[in-house]
């Protein structure tokens, strides 16, 4: 038996098969999860009524009205929240109204965490079992929602605010919605985290 010179087709076969495969892999990649805008954007904040962490009283979606608010979803067990906390504090120190949503956390841990790292929040609403967060389309922390003075959700940040791209996107949303003070502050943040 003699192995003969491979024919042209036989020589090109591996390359052809590989080409087909690459097409599939390419399509597979384009289907990969990417950030999809939240369906909540442009809609009023979902209704809720939650107790507060450090004070008596409650917080509901009506309380967003009147001032531009950043709703920051956080928890003491969340590592990325610790990372972004410096940025959140900076925003607070520049007069941005920040409301915290303490997510699936033990209130005692949460208080200790704030005492240790600083508290930039006007108030912190406690969503202990994460039920409200489901309505908001949250299932992870940190996340931040930009809510305008009419209580409409304008933008959503998934992940920590230490990411320049995310701050950039937030900045664009703030500009589009004419939140000029916030634009100034975010421009400075962008400067700092680069």
């Amino acid at each position: 038996m003699e192995t003969e010179k491979p024919s042209t087709l036989r020589r090109f076969m591996p390359l052809i098969i590989f080409g087909v495969l690459v097409v599939f892999l390419g399509i597979g990649l384009t289907l990969n999860p990417r950030e999809v805008p939240s369906p909540l954007i442009g809609k009023p904040a979902p209704a809720f009524d939650l107790p507060l962490l450090e004070k008596d009283g409650r917080f509901s979606e009506q309380d967003f009205k009147g001032k531009v608010t950043l709703l920051n979803v956080w928890a003491s067990w969340c590592f990325a929240c610790r990372q972004e906390h410096e940025v959140v504090k900076y925003l607070g120190s520049r007069g941005v109204r920040i409301v915290g949503l303490n997510y699936k956390d033990d209130p005692a841990d949460a208080k200790a965490w704030l005492a240790r790292l600083g508290n930039p929040y006007e108030v912190v609403a406690v969503d202990r079992d994460g039920r409200i967060a489901i309505d908001w389309g949250v299932y992870g922390a940190p996340e931040s929602f930009l809510i305008d003075r009419d209580g409409i959700i304008r933008h959503k940040v998934i992940g920590p605010l230490t990411d320049p791209e995310k701050v950039e996107a937030l900045l664009v949303a703030a500009r589009e919605n004419g939140m000029n003070e916030l634009v100034t502050v975010l421009t400075d943040v962008r400067q700092k985290i680069r």
Binding site: M1, E2, T3, E4, K5, P6, T8, R11, F12, P14, L15, F18, G19, L21, V22, F24, L25, G26, I27, G28, L29, L31, N32, P33, R34, W77, F79, R82, Q83, E86, T162, I193
Partner: protein, 649 residues
């Protein structure tokens, strides 16, 4: 400062790799000695700088430099030193760095141990390896920099995934990468040979030891991974047909075909272009393995970082490396003519059949792994391929494979008389079949065809291999190491098959609800649940159950399965406890605490499961032994003077 140095070292290594991949090729084309000699210099320089970068990252882990993002994500203050060092490759960025380091180690090894190679071939081989390095370093620098800083630095880091804190897994990735990356040598030799247009038996001889040693590492790495899954995942399985496992298994299957096909090419000069294709395929599958694990295109129980932009980079890289080499193959392999003649009943045919079987197996794994991806790509639905498919395929493939494995080594090269071979083995065949089929009956008083066939196969391989070895020993007192390596590896296969067959047929498992003081009998062993107590490790707290094992009213052992909560994590982790002996494992894993002090737990009896890993270790040893054969060191020089045409080849 040191992390910046590391980053800087990576950039320099990248620049050096570019030089390494271009200059020697030009030198080879122009026959310019100075440019050719750049290959060696560049590969050593590259190792130096990649090593420096690696050391810098390790240093950051050891001194708890949490200002480095990667360090803060994968280690914390209480993590033991060993897992801080292994934390370097605990996730995406660091494991890429490890990959690059191993690649440069292989490159320098090739440069150092192949001084007898013609300079032009050497230059081409090193240049091809440099190109692969360029790809990986660019991937790291542009998409996954391990030295990225985190500002402000946190006081403590996030812990390395507790599942990864196990000695088995700590050394699993380096071994696996040694194998994956090792196939790059065979690949580089194949591409260099195609570039030079000269594919002969000497080419096979040069790349054979490299391929074999890479294969040994891969075998060992896969075995370690399986050992880790068995110990750490807590549920007694040793192989899950998980895409990440399959990703390492496919290069192994093709690599196994490659080392056998290289044997034919080296000894008889046959199957040349086929062997080249296998070398390309083995390395391509190693890259694809990286692709599958890193980009998250597949659903997997392994939780590595997922990031589509990285996937795009890897895909582009794959297209260049694999597409490029296959195009080169299509272009140049037309000139390759295999001259060896052989008859239909010969060693060559046996090795060809071996290749067909291994490629069929690899194809089956490939289809099972990639089909869900394709279906998803067309939006038809989300599917996965169930484990029975893989099990069925491998049972099917293993019967002809074992039959062939026993027979192949007895058949002579070029041609043999089938009457002669048949006469020498028919008795062994009958003995294996009868004993194999009878064994289940003796064990359990029940006939089981599948179990019996598996055992018969293991026995058949053992008997024929030993028979051939003794026949050879009778002729000459010394066995060549290469031959001894083959014998040991084949015996390892037999041991592995026996272990898999018995474990799959006779394992017992039971999910139980146990209150302290209760007991449960399994396979003649009685598990007494004495109660639970608190236990503590360096970085975790645990509930530990005390289970005494009794047999024939004698206490034979004690198991302490744990439910751990690692500091910084909120979820408990199952830590199984295993009583190990050569012939059986007793295994207990703790579920959760139910009401009134009861616990759910799972107990197993797993006979011969250890043979699975011992068999794999034998295969690894066989590979190592085969490489140590003097033939590979001494004869290279002779072969060059014998066979090589003058420079410019």
């Amino acid at each position: 400062m040191i992390p910046e140095l590391g980053h800087f070292a990576l950039i320099i290594a990248f620049a050096v790799a570019i030089v390494q991949s271009i200059v020697p090729l030009i030198g080879a084309a122009r026959n310019d000695a100075a440019m050719i000699s750049m290959a060696r210099v560049a590969s050593v320089t590259q190792l130096l700088f990649v090593g420096l970068a690696y050391a810098a990252l390790t240093h950051a882990f050891i001194v708890h430099d949490f200002s480095v993002l990667y360090v803060s994500q994968h280690s914390n203050l209480v993590q033991p030193l060993m897992y801080r060092i292994s934390g370097v490759w605990g996730s995406h960025e660091g494991s890429l760095l490890l990959w690059a380091l191993i690649l440069s180690i292989w490159t320098v090894a090739v440069a150092a141990y192949s001084r007898n190679l013609p300079d032009i071939l050497m230059a081409r081989v090193l240049a091809v390896m440099g190109m692969i390095s360029v790809g990986f370093l660019a991937f790291m620098l542009f998409t996954s920099n391990p030295f990225e800083r985190l500002f402000p630095a946190p006081l403590d880091g996030n812990e390395l995934n507790p599942l990864l804190q196990d000695p088995g897994l700590a050394f699993h990735p380096p071994m696996l990468y040694m194998g994956y990356v090792g196939f790059s040598v065979a690949f580089a030799f194949a591409v260099a040979a195609l570039l030079g247009g000269k594919l002969d038996a000497t080419w096979a001889r040069w790349s054979r030891p490299w391929t074999t040693i890479a294969w040994s590492f891969l075998t060992f790495g896969i075995a370690l991974g399986s050992w880790w899954a068995y110990n750490e995942l807590g549920w007694g399985g040793w192989w899950f047909w998980d895409p990440v496992e399959n990703a390492s298994f496919m290069p192994w299957l093709v690599g196994t075909a490659l080392i056998h096909s290289l044997a034919s090419t080296e000894k008889r000069g046959v199957f040349k272009s086929w062997t080249v294709l296998l070398a390309i395929l083995a390395f391509s599958l190693s890259l694809l393995g990286t692709f599958i694990v890193r980009s998250g295109v597949l659903v997997s129980v392994h939780a590595f970082a997922t990031d589509p932009s990285r996937g795009v980079f890897i895909l582009a890289f794959l297209v260049v490396v694999v597409g490029g080499s296959l195009a080169l193959y299509a272009w140049r392999s037309g000139a390759v003519i295999s001259y060896g003649r052989f008859q239909w009943f010969s060693r060559e045919t046996a090795l060809l059949l071996n290749n067909i079987i291994f490629l069929t197996a690899a194809g089956a794994v490939f289809v099972g792994t990639m089909y869900p991806l394709v279906v998803d790509a067309f939006g038809i639905g989300k599917i996965s391929v169930g484990r029975p498919y893989f099990d069925t395929m491998f049972s099917l493939v293993s019967i002809p494979l074992l039959l062939l494995l026993g027979l192949g080594p007895l058949v002579r090269w070029k041609g043999d008389s089938w009457q002669r071979v048949l006469k020498s083995v028919w008795a062994l065949f009958v003995i294996s079949l009868v004993v194999g089929l009878l064994l289940p009956f003796l064990i359990e008083g029940e006939l089981r065809i599948a179990t019996g066939l598996g055992l018969a196969g293991a026995l058949w391989v053992t008997l024929t291999t030993l028979k051939d070895m003794f026949a050879r020993l009778a002729k000459s007192r010394r066995l060549p190491l290469a031959y001894a390596g083959m014998v040991i590896a084949h015996l390892g296969v037999a041991m592995f098959v026996a272990g898999v067959t018995i474990t799959m047929s006779y394992s017992l498992e039971k999910d139980l609800r146990m209150v302290p003081g209760s007991e449960y009998d399994i396979a003649g062993y009685s598990f007494h649940f004495m109660g639970t107590r608190k236990a503590q490790g360096v970085n975790y707290d645990a509930n530990e159950a005390v289970i005494e094992i009794w047999r024939d009213s004698k206490k034979v052992g004690e198991l302490h399965p744990q439910k751990r909560v690692y500091s910084g994590k909120s979820n408990p982790m199952t830590e199984a406890s295993i009583d190990k002996t050569f012939f059986r494992d007793l295994y207990a894993a703790l579920g959760e605490e139910l009401d009134d002090g009861a616990w759910s737990m799972r107990v197993y009896y797993k006979p011969l499961i250890r043979w699975i890993w011992l068999g794999s270790i034998l295969m690894t040893l066989g590979g190592v032994l085969a490489v140590s054969d003097r033939r590979y060191r001494q004869s290279v020089k002779q072969k060059i003077s014998d066979r090589l045409s003058p420079a410019g080849a």
